[in-house]
Each structure stands twice: as C-alpha cells, then as structure tokens.
Symmetry: C2
Subunit: 229 residues, 2 copies
DNA sequence: CTTTACACGTGTAAATATAACACTTATTAA
DNA sequence: TTAATAAGTGTTATATTTACACGTGTAAAG
C-alpha cells in the first residue's frame, strides 16, 4: 500500500487441504487420485479454488464438506505457497490447511466418488506439484500444535480409551510414550471426563472410556496452560 | 482441484509486513502514515501488492527494499487474511510477513519520504483494516520462534554485548530474565563467537563483544536443538 | 468351579532442567 | 589512592521429566 489504489494484478487462489485421520493402523491422510489433466492418475491433496465472495476458511470448509459430507471440521491454515510454476497450467497460489477428522465419521460414498483413499503417513506416495512440501510443513505444524494444545481429540471418536489417546499421540509425534507418564500428564491437566462406561473390545477387564471436556479446557485457557508431550 | 481447470475467480493479493527493530528503548515496529484514501492519516503496516510474475517472498523482499533500502532482510510469512470486507475498496486478501532488521541499518531518507516511523511495541497506535490482528499474531509468532530458534540476532548489529542480547530477549518475550541464567543458557548453546574486543561505552570495565556464529549453528541444526527461553 | 490368560490401572525414586541468588573484578575518574 | 560503576562468574534449591514393575478384574478354557 505504498501506492494508491490502481489496477493491481489478480491471481487465482487454490486451497489445498491435508485431511488427517487416525485408526488402529496409525495416522493417515486422505488423498485423491486425479482423473483429469495435468498429472492425471497422480495423487494429490484435496483442493479447490477460492471464490471471490468467500473467505479462505469458508472455502476450506466447503471443500472439506464436498469430500467428506461433514461440517464443522477442525482445521488450521498454515502457509501460502507461491512459486511461479507450482501449477504448470496457470499462475495459481495455494493456501494450505490441515484438517483433523474422526476417520469413522465421513461419507464413504463421497470418498469413492472422488477417487479418494486413506494413506498411512509413513507410506504416502509422491504427490503432485508442491504438495509434498505442504504435507511436510503441515505435519510439522500438527506435531508442534498437538504437543501444545489439545487438538488431537478431533481425530478420535467422542468416547475413547486412554490407550487410544496415547496411541494417537504416539502416531502424531512419531515416538513411543510411557503409559504411566502419559496418563499422569493427561490427568494432571484435568480436561477429560471419565465415563462410567467401559470399552470391552480390547480386554476381559475392559478399559474406561473418556470424553474431552471442552468447557473445562476453555476455562483454563487464560493461564498459559499447555501439554508438552 | 476437485474440478477440472475452468475459469476460476481471481483476487488481488496484498503483502503486509511487520518490520521489527530493536534499540535501547526496546522492541519497535515500523509504521507508515497513509497519505491516500481510504483511511488517509491512519497508521498502517508496510504493504504492497503481489505482481503476477513474482513469488510472495519476492514481493515481500521488494516491498522491504523499497522502504528500507536493504536487501536480504530476515523475514517469515505467517498468515493469510481473507475477510470479505477487510479492505473496503476492493476484495483483497493479504499475506502477512514479519521481518527483523538491524534498526541502525536502514535508509532514513526513504523512511521519511514514505512517512514512516518507528513505534515502541507497547505504544502502537490503532492500525487500519485488520492490521491490529496481524500485529498480534505476528508478535506471538515472533515470540514463539525466537524462543526456539536463534533468529533474534537479525535485530542486532553484527557485534553486540551479552547485555544487549539479553535486553533483546527480554523485549521480545516481554519478561525479565536472570543475567546469570541467561548467559549460561546462551553459552551452553555454543553458537556465539566471543571477540577480543570490548564495547567501552557502557562501563569503565568494558564488556566483551560477541558475534552470532551461523555456521556452528547450522551444523547443530540436525539434532533437535533449541533455546527455550 | 478353578485356573489361566490378558490387558488395565496405578506410584515412587532417580535424573535432569530450571530458577533463585550475591560477590569479586576491572577500569576510569575524582 | 579511593570511589564509583557495570561486567563477569557458580552453587543450591526447586520443579519437571523420565524410568520402571506388579496387583487387579474379567472372560474363556479346562
């Protein structure tokens, strides 16, 4: 804004989204196999273009909804990519987001229609354009964020066991955690509700189910309160 | 990219830059007083528009050079703002950067020509548009980054005293630090070169000058090596 | 009915990291 | 020679993090 308003250049803005999910096998991302040129048949993050009358968050929500059939997905914008030739067809910048969803809670049919599928984070194929770079940065951001702020719950069903939660953190941080230390840490934060309900699928004894207590968490947000796992 | 390439909307992209500087008085930012509409006479971050043939980093560098006369300024992109009416004149998104410069090393004349001036971080006036929000987020990012990665040196002259470095960190983190603990921490990182040269301006005894050792630092980057101040 | 198998749940001690704290030293100017 | 001033330097106490092992409850098998 050093100059007055004159006709400035305009560009196309893509939104590309890393959709993270989690199951017994670990951390996964949702990719689509492109059925159009360029790069037909190659794997790609989920994306779309910004419309002139929506915000980036709205565009990201729209794109996420289109593919998953789910509203109100947790997401965070993390970087804007602008290499001149990043998209070989036309000058396009891309604002990247990552999103966290409960892997059970999405529309299978939509995913199939769009040629999408889940890939373990350790076995992600080569992606188009600069999507590899995006994934790298997004994953790093996710790691940093989850170890500070309890956003990981977005990857779990509403009710979960302590072991599930631990496995989730292990998958995200890509390192083993000590069971007792983990439980002590989580409990000391006092942001979980312990239910009078057990998951009996994993053992004869059964393991208690927990829920994330968003209200308690929000009440604590004033102090600089964080995890560090 | 769920759809094939058709005519997608295009938008104007601004780049807005928080230029941080540091002197005896503390942490400062460079602001310009707008001499054009809208918001004439109001304070604003330093900005400009992306040209179709440059990357965001190039645009940011260009804008920084225009105002300061300095090349190769340390900078980091941190968020892209997209509220529909953030700019009342025309639909414009803004990619925000922060930059760190040695406050002594810029072109006074240019700054005057552009109606720019330095403002202590504690006394920043109301800014135009969503620039307040940008500053808030940028400052938070700077705080987090400086306490992890030694980027603070970019705000100091090449040679500096320990006390200067401590004052810098105190200014960025906005909290007092213990002198001995600070020096021990910094020394334990082993990324400074102690010069055989003293700054005599502050005391009769004089205090040793140091330089940041970028090579040593880079060599250590492999391990997860960080400050935590 | 008893035993076995299995994962759940729990606490303490050692090691490490952080935080608190005060005096001696070098130099110049009075 | 003395006084004044900021520089430089280590140790102890506290807090945090890590390491580590066994009793418990339940269902299925015998």
């Amino acid at each position: 804004m050093l100059n007055s308003y004159t006709k400035e250049d305009k560009v196309m803005l893509a939104i590309d989204c890393i959709i993270f999910g989690f199951d017994e096998e670990g951390l996964k991302i949702l990719l689509i196999k492109r059925d159009f040129e360029p790069e037909r048949g190659k794997w790609s993050l989920i994306g779309g273009f910004l419309k002139v009358n929506e915000t980036l968050d709205e565009a990201a929500s729209r794109i996420l909804y289109t593919l998953t059939g789910v509203h109100d997905i947790y997401m965070e914008q993390f970087y804007t990519y602008s290499e001149i030739d990043r998209d070989p067809v036309e000058r396009t910048l891309s604002v990247s987001y990552y999103a966290l969803i409960d892997i059970e809670r999405h529309n299978e049919e939509l995913i199939e229609n769009y040629n999408a599928s889940w890939h373990s984070i350790a076995e992600v194929p080569k992606l188009i354009f600069d999507h590899d770079k995006m994934l790298d940065k997004g994953l790093k951001r996710l790691r940093r964020r989850t170890s500070i702020v309890p956003i990981g719950f977005n990857l779990l069903p509403e009710k979960f066991t302590m072991l599930q939660l631990q496995k989730l953190y292990e998958a995200i941080l890509d390192k083993p955690l000590d069971k007792r230390n983990f439980i002590n840490k989580i409990n000391s934060m006092d942001i979980l509700i312990k239910l009078n309900e057990k998951d009996m699928s994993s053992s004869t004894k059964g393991s208690f189910l927990y829920m994330f207590d968003g209200e308690k968490y929000n009440a604590k947000l004033t102090d600089n309160f964080y995890l560090k796992l």
